[in-house]
């Protein structure tokens, strides 16, 4: 990410086709092109809603457009072959660039030049010579102490033939590795996402209060847990006075061999994980459990009450017929289109003849009167069973995604805010017997800041007396 040190790559004319391919994959143009291409392509998926049922698209687009978009994979574009191809190309590009720069970065970390010579001095910044009237060993002591303040590590000292000494200080050497950290972290995230999609799943399960399940439904089919069950002890939804939701929580237990091993109340931001499987609070609902149904004479006199469990036939008092509570609707559509509220679907089984189906409305007790006949039915009480809707995930790649994310952040921080700084100081006695100091430095990044740092150091070195 450094903008200061030109990137050195061994580019050749590319006459060899392998070299040409290599040069293509390591070119900076490809990186910039792919990043901007992915950005541009991603926009499409935010404008066209993704993964909707096909009939919804027909409401928005012409049939020809739907067919075209469908063929192009635009309805699930982030998994389309062309988007995945772009991502794969990016991964290859990152891998190739990492290999390409490996040697250069490693070379930058080596202590190559320990002495300021003619060639090195050309590339140094703040190259300055200071002369002192003091003896060399006094100067050396003070200078080493001053420079040591900015560079905590031990300097490399080289003895020169003319009796002088050369000091080499450096710090932040390992910040050069930030290139690998940032780029490999992206590959690690990709690897995590891929292994998650191959070896993980997302499932859903509804559990009624008091019930236990050991399997969940996924897109690919049903998954069975052989060695544990999940029990929903209770589910509660709380609301603010305004009607906005306040809290959804399920009291869950994990059972193994009939014994409770974990019990936890999960909420929207607080899931439960067991053996790599995580249970998230996702939805909730109710299903009828049993209905108490009054049998009423046309004149309003109560003949009797039937308690009908859902899915079971019971006798109707006063007649030989049987009834079964078979169906339920939260919002029954009235003939005029109004919301009729909760309704129980009942099947009547006469002694002779075929069964009759009818709807009884909880909020409209007289509704069944319209059927005619001597008696009618009305719902006295309806017991609902609550269930909690859980999302169930297993994602073995998740840990790689988080590892990659942390490395990415760390790498970017190091790349932007740290640099490899080097400082050379040469000390010798000149022909006139004065002590002569030559100082210069380099940094691989943020050279302006380092130049200011060095100016200060040079100023304090000049003041040595």
């Amino acid at each position: 990410m450094s903008a200061d040190e030109p990137v050195k790559t061994a580019k050749t004319d590319g006459t060899d086709w392998i070299e040409r391919i290599w040069n293509f994959f390591t070119s900076l143009k490809l990186v910039v092109f792919l990043l901007l291409m992915l950005a541009a392509l991603s926009i499409a998926g935010t404008v066209i809603e993704q993964n909707k049922p096909l009939q919804e698209y027909y409401r928005f687009y012409q049939p020809g457009t739907v067919a075209l978009f469908s063929r192009l994979g635009l309805f699930d574009m982030y998994h389309s072959w062309w988007f995945v191809a772009c991502l794969s190309l990016l991964a290859l590009n990152i891998a190739a660039c990492t290999m390409d720069r490996y040697r250069g970065i490693m070379a930058g970390m080596r202590k190559k030049n320990l002495v300021i010579d003619e060639k090195l001095s050309k590339s140094l910044q703040n190259l300055t010579t200071i002369r002192y009237a003091l003896p060399l060993d006094v100067v050396e002591k003070k200078v080493a102490a001053l420079a040591g303040k900015g560079f905590p590590g031990k300097p490399v000292v080289t003895q020169a033939e003319d009796g002088g000494r050369h000091y080499f200080f450096e710090k932040g050497k390992y910040s050069r590795l930030s290139f690998f950290v940032t780029h490999l972290s992206i590959l690690i995230i990709f690897l995590g996402a891929i292994s998650g999609s191959f070896f993980g799943y997302k499932g859903y399960v509804n559990i009624f209060e008091g019930e236990t399940v050991s399997q969940v439904e996924t897109r690919a089919g049903r998954i069975q847990y052989p060695d544990f069950q999940v029990k929903c002890n209770t589910f509660n939804a709380e609301f603010y006075p305004s009607g906005a939701p306040m809290d959804y929580r399920s009291d869950l237990s994990i059972l193994q061999n009939g014994k409770e091993v974990i019990r936890k109340t999960i909420r929207v931001n607080d899931p439960l994980t067991f053996e790599g499987v995580t249970f998230y609070q996702s939805s909730y609902g109710g299903q009828p459990d049993q209905a108490a149904i009054d049998v009423v004479n046309r004149d309003g006199a109560l003949i009797g009450t039937v308690t009908a469990p859902f899915g079971g036939k019971v006798d109707i008092p006063g007649v030989a017929d049987q009834m079964e509570a078979a169906d339920y609707q939260e919002h029954f559509p009235m003939s005029d289109g109004a919301d009729g509220g909760r309704a129980v679907g009942v099947n009547i089984y006469p002694v002779t003849g075929s069964p009759v189906g009818l709807w009884l409305l909880v909020n409209h007790p007289e509704y069944d009167k319209q059927r005619g006949g001597d008696t009618y039915f009305r719902v006295r009480d309806l017991k609902l069973k609550k269930y909690t809707g859980l999302q169930v995930n297993r994602d073995p790649g998740e840990i790689l995604v988080w590892l990659g994310s942390i490395l990415l952040i760390a790498g970017i921080m190091i790349a932007f805010f740290m640099s490899h700084k080097k400082l050379w100081i040469s000390l010798r006695t000149d022909k006139k017997g004065r002590s002569e100091l030559t100082i210069g430095g380099t940094a691989n990044k943020n050279r302006d800041a380092y130049a200011k740092e060095m100016e200060q150091m040079i100023q304090s070195l000049k003041e040595v007396s």
């Binding site: 903008a3 910039v32 990043l35 998926g45 982030y78 306040m246 809290d247 988080w402 990415l408 932007f416």
Partner: protein, 282 residues
């Protein structure tokens, strides 16, 4: 409510700051420049009090939550971060002339915020999380750095254009602006501050989504647009490695990056639909 009054005052202070920054550029008077910076600082102080007051008042209502959870609050916080981060960077990089291009944002954003309902609502279950503050703050400070970078890049384009037309014009208006190479460098440095923060914002968002919804990345429009912003600035940073992409092309990428940022922040909520609908207008 006291917080509404304070937010109202901050709109006026930001307005003055904007006028002063533009006058500073027009009349090139150091006095006006100092007044502009002070006025912006005043706006930040008033709005800090407003945000603190709103936070405090939410506790008095028995709700008790950070003021970061609906469109009004996020706009107010966005204006606040832009003003604050701008002042910090103005001091650091000595770029008061950029103020004329950044100062309109806090004012316009606050003015737009004032059109939205500002009652303090309790949190829905999905937002009740410790990740809320970390996620929102990192994203917004990142956005604010990009806003400053936008101002700098805009000024760069003006300055570079003038340098091309008349290379030497001592004492002119153009001479008053920082050199184009300095602007180019500052534009890069502000992005170097924003990019790591955006990265942290995306990662904390993914982590939170995984805890709340059981999926760290679902390609919902907000997530996708934050990735688009990230990709554009990543392209910018890579492009700068070669000398060829400094200057004009870098400035244009930086402006495109900020346009995408604004769309990611506002456009997605107002135009597109998705999981992140808390910040929506309704």
């Amino acid at each position: 409510m006291t917080n509404s009054l304070l937010f109202g005052i901050s709109i006026f202070v930001y307005f003055f700051a904007m006028v002063l920054y533009v006058s500073y550029l027009a009349f090139r008077s150091e006095m006006l420049g100092k007044a502009a910076s002070l006025s912006m600082l005043g706006g930040v102080v008033v709005e800090t009090a407003a945000l603190g007051m709103r936070w405090y008042e939410s506790y008095q209502l028995g709700i008790g939550r950070a003021p970061l959870t609906n469109l009004y609050e996020s706009l107010a916080f966005f204006a606040w971060t832009i003003a604050l981060i701008y002042l910090v960077l103005e001091r650091k990089f000595k770029i008061r002339t950029v103020g004329a291009f950044v100062a309109p944002f806090p004012f316009l954003i606050m003015a737009y915020a004032s059109l939205n309902p500002n009652d303090i609502q309790p949190l829905v279950p999905a937002l009740k999380s410790n990740w809320l503050i970390a996620h929102v703050v990192t994203c917004f400070v990142g956005y604010a750095a990009f806003a400053v970078s936008f101002g700098v890049s805009f000024l760069y384009l003006l300055k570079a254009g003038s340098e091309k037309r008349s290379p030497k014009s001592a004492g002119s208006f153009w001479d008053f602006l920082p050199s184009s190479s300095a602007l180019d460098e500052i534009g890069y440095k502000t992005i170097a501050i924003g990019f790591p923060l955006l990265t942290i914002g995306i990662v904390t968002g993914a982590f939170w989504a995984n805890v709340a919804w059981g999926t760290y990345w679902s390609w919902d429009p907000k997530e996708t647009w934050s990735l688009i912003v990230w990709l554009i600035y990543a392209a910018y940073l890579h492009a700068r490695i070669t000398r060829g992409w400094r200057g004009k092309r870098a400035a244009i990428l930086s402006i495109a990056g900020f346009a995408a940022t604004i769309f990611c922040y506002l456009g997605v909520n107002l135009i597109l639909s998705g999981l992140h609908s808390y910040g929506g207008a309704s």
